[in-house]
Symmetry: C2
Subunit: 237 residues, 2 copies
DNA sequence: GAATAAAAGTGTAATTTCAACACTTAGTGT
DNA sequence: ACACTAAGTGTTGAAATTACACTTTTATTC
């Protein structure tokens, strides 16, 4: 029972991307064929990395995110720390850890970050230095490395709670969006249907959602009014 | 820019205690007279400690809390991680750190825990191995060591948000309580007045608040009905 | 250029929730 | 029995929420 002479701290980013076909999460696969499921499928994981010795937590999360997606300046907030002493000691993860870490037996505590991007506007170009990098529909995520499924679930819960209270929906939408898109986003994230007319009544009350002098173009139906949001009026807390 | 070869991880507990004269937080003073404010007053801090190498985060928080208060089994939840690289590098904290730590220059990341105790029922007996241990009214807390004022503020915010959504009020009240006590608790924590009749209407809707066959005794006025809560019906999430 | 297809956009009535407000009751102490 | 103190209790108007269906605007097809 020594105090922690040497343990490692990492950040793991749960980066959600949204577009018209749903809510995705960014996962990476390792190239190493030592890191596979029993059926030979490559093991996926959340993008994460050890923090540098002089680096703050938020800073580390930004760096990791930038290294993997070239995306800068997105919404990124800590949501939970995961510190089970055995979280990186499962058999399935050992071989890979031994192949990439200088101290594979080291305990690692990780801080989970929730990130949000619109897949409409900036299409993040995942730097694939690691192996494959994929956007996976949140409902189709299989078993992940380490405790990453638990971290992902934590992030989904955090996203659901924060969506309404923290005005973060706009991080997931294009700069100009229609009210139907906004509604679809709410329905996807909260897994719940809304009444169109009532939904729009509520939006009218939100002073940070502003109508533009512009309409949708090239659609085979009545073009929708475009909206934008006024960043000045958003309270992120 | 090396990965974190050796950094330290601690937990800091913001333990709130409640009784009829308000909301208190548990603070410790150091004996060392090297650790004082400029006016000579002893520096106070939140109870916290480095985690042990084989110990989970929740486990560490429980241990620290037990070591300082002999209290077991209270509500204790992680609320935020603090990882500024300079959070333990301020001048005011250096002398003391040098006197108690083998590696005083080591970076320390800390995970903040929110704890709740009723000062009515179990009167925690602070083990004063450190120096003084005091319950301080949350409105009378002066400057604390490190970034502990920020951590305390984070905990107060977390408490306020969670009070209504997470059904945690009961952790702060005696096992048997009156509706006036419950209301006073809400008013203290949320810093906001409630209408007595409306408040009681709301409580009636809470299935986890159950009336007992028992009344207050020895009071100089109409004795209040006592209530208890049914732990089975509480969803902590 | 008339007909069709597809989603956008819009109002009202019924219900529920919320907010404001003041007097009576049950016990203790003198 | 009288005084004191906090407990306990209902009603009304305002506001918010829910449920619900038809018309409009564009692009495409014939």
């Amino acid at each position: 029972m020594q105090p922690n002479e040497s343990l490692h701290l990492s950040v793991d980013c749960v980066l959600f991307g949204y577009d018209d076909d749903g809510l995705k999460v960014l996962l990476i696969n390792q190239k190493k064929d030592t890191y596979v499921h029993e059926n030979g499928q490559p093991m996926s994981q959340l993008p994460g990395d050890l923090i540098l010795i002089e680096e703050g937590l938020d800073e580390a999360a930004e760096r990791v995110l930038f290294e993997l997606t070239q995306v800068n300046g997105v919404y990124l907030k800590q949501f939970h720390a995961y510190g089970d002493p055995n979280r990186v000691k499962e058999h399935k993860d050992r071989a890979w850890l031994r192949s990439v870490r200088t101290q594979p037996d080291q305990r690692v505590i990780t801080v989970g970050y929730l990130g949000l991007v619109s897949l409409h506007d900036h299409d993040p170009q995942p730097a694939s230095f690691a192996g494959g990098v994929n956007w996976v529909d949140v409902n189709e995520v299989g078993p992940l490395a380490f405790d990453h499924n638990a971290i992902l679930n934590g992030a989904i819960e955090a996203l659901q709670t924060q969506l309404e209270s923290h005005h973060i929906s706009f991080e997931l939408l294009p700069k100009k969006f229609t009210l139907s898109q906004l509604q679809a986003l709410y329905e996807t994230v909260l897994d719940k249907k809304f009444d169109k007319r009532n939904f729009r009544k509520n939006v009218k009350k939100m002073s940070h959602v502003v109508p533009l002098d512009e309409k949708q173009q090239g659609v085979m139906h009545k073009p929708a009014q475009l909206f934008s949001f006024n960043p000045d009026q958003i309270e992120h807390d």
